[in-house]
């Protein structure tokens, strides 16, 4: 199965590509070729680092191409900063808009005695009916590393608790995002990526 992976020069893609290949997918990487996005069957937007790096998606025209693909029903998965980009923006880079598929904004963890970033394995509270998280049992652990997070809303597919409940996964139709790193989350992470890869692709003919 084909999967288009967007490279916007934020961190390295090696681990994500490796996990996708392990699951039998044929990832195709693009950092600017819009035609690859226009014909994509599925899109993965990985990302570590700073939200400001998503500016490159606007500059290359990828934002518009991805928006069209999502409108055609192409399944989309954002990982970490890639998930945060689905929201209207993040207080990490207030001047940089996100895609706005979800109208809320991402914010930094509140000040507390706990350390920020939130690094390590934490458990998922999965909401009923999530397709992306099919087969993930309550309390299964996944690997996080982040300082900013999305607000819990009706689109939240799973929450995790650290300082406060935050969005571990978001899902609306064929648009999905995970704050954690499924490519680094053992068999639980691979289950989630497999669910995404087996998502019925629409509108690509």
């Amino acid at each position: 199965m084909r999967v288009t992976v967007i490279d916007y020069k934020a961190g390295n893609l090696t681990s994500v590509l490796k996990a996708l290949r392990h699951l039998g997918a044929e990832p195709e990487v693009t950092d600017s070729d819009l035609s690859v996005v226009d014909t994509a069957e599925r899109i993965v937007l990985p990302g570590v680092g700073h939200f400001a790096a998503t500016e490159r998606l606007d500059a290359t025209g990828l934002t518009l191409a991805i928006r069209s693909a999502i409108a055609r029903g192409v399944p989309f998965l954002g990982i970490c900063v890639g998930m945060q980009w689905l929201y209207a923006g993040s207080s990490e880079a207030p001047e940089q808009p996100g895609l706005g598929h979800f109208p809320e904004k991402c914010t930094r963890f509140a000040d507390s005695t706990e350390k920020v970033p939130h690094v390590g394995w934490n458990s998922l509270e999965v909401k009923k009916g999530s397709r992306l998280l099919t087969g993930v049992e309550p309390g299964e652990y996944v690997y996080f590393t982040h300082s900013y997070k999305g607000p819990v809303t009706a689109d939240t597919a799973a929450t995790t608790f650290y300082i406060e409940p935050f969005v571990a996964a978001v899902e609306h139709g064929s648009v999905m995002g995970v704050q954690f790193h499924p490519e680094k989350s053992g068999t639980t992470g691979l289950t989630i990526l497999r669910n995404f890869l087996s998502w019925e692709a629409k509108g690509t003919e």
């Binding site: 934020a10 961190g11 390295n12 090696t14 681990s15 490796k18 996990a19 392990h22 570590v48 680092g49 700073h50 350390k115 920020v116 970033p117 939130h118 690094v119 390590g120 394995w121 934490n122 458990s123 652990y141 690997y143 590393t145 982040h146 608790f161 650290y162 790193h181 490519e183 680094k184 989350s185 053992g186 068999t187 992470g189 691979l190």
Partner: protein
């Protein structure tokens, strides 16, 4: 609930896992890729591979080792040893590492931390610190001296002050090795670990001295460590991360189980 991480550490020399005390009397302990996969299967939360030779000539061997080790590894994977420049780091990331650990080169030129963090994100930069208590200092623990070159060369830097600078420059985690405890199997230096952990806002990985389950419970409690490194305790089939974590859970430590 966030869990305490048990990190399996593989010391690698010339492409093979080795084990010795204080870098002496090295014993062959297997193939890195095989060992890493086994640790992941047996419940380790993360794998660290340290190239203890780290010679210029050995770079290609290391990259091959990293590539082979990363291939089927789906837990976080950190690589250290001989990373002197942002380009060195880029090659290690390209080969499949998720994080790099820097030590001597960061002390020589701390801007290395900023440079790697800018390109790959703070989460990808682990600053490793080898420290020894300084009985002549006003505070022998907070002012423990930082050493480089496998503990052979003193730097004059103080552990808390250096850890804070590393954080300010964009380190994502601190890997703290107590030279007083390393190799003793008599327990972690909990006072040293707590002093550093309470002085920074980033996670601290404790290293050096692990011998029993109680040592781990102690460093997660009194030592305020976020993660702990285990090397010799796992070698030669002595124990697995899973059995260690099962015992820690009984002692009330939050760990990733089942795993």
């Amino acid at each position: 609930m966030i869990t305490k991480r048990i990190i399996a550490c593989l010391d690698v020399h010339g492409g093979r896992v080795v084990k010795g005390v204080q870098f002496v009397d090295l014993v062959d302990a297997g193939d890195p890729a095989t060992q890493a996969a086994r640790h992941a299967r047996e419940g380790a939360d993360e794998i660290v591979l340290l190239d203890i030779t780290a010679t210029h000539e050995g770079r290609q061997t290391l990259l091959d080792t990293v590539r082979r080790t990363a291939r089927e590894l789906f837990v976080p994977f950190c690589v250290g040893g001989g990373i002197r420049t942002a380009d060195d780091a880029a090659q290690v990331f390209e080969a499949g590492a998720d994080k790099v650990s820097v030590n001597s080169a960061a002390l020589r030129g701390p801007a290395l931390i900023d440079a790697i963090g800018r390109s790959f994100g703070a989460q990808a930069v682990v600053v490793a610190i080898d420290a020894r208590r300084d009985p002549t200092a006003a505070d022998p623990v907070r002012d423990a001296e930082v050493f480089v070159q496998g503990g052979r060369k003193p730097t004059g830097r103080r552990v808390v002050e250096w850890a804070r600078e590393a954080e300010a420059r964009g380190a994502g985690e601190i890997l703290l090795t107590s030279m007083d405890s390393d190799g003793t199997r008599a327990g972690f230096d909990c006072e040293l670990t707590a002093a550093v952990s309470e002085s920074v806002g980033i996670p601290v990985i404790a290293s050096g001295g692990a011998g029993t389950v109680e040592h781990f419970a102690d460093v997660f409690g009194r030592g305020k460590a976020d993660a702990a490194l285990a090397a010799s305790i796992f070698h030669f089939g002595i124990s697995s991360a899973r059995s260690l974590k099962e015992e820690l859970a009984k002692a009330g430590v939050s760990v990733r189980l089942p795993c």
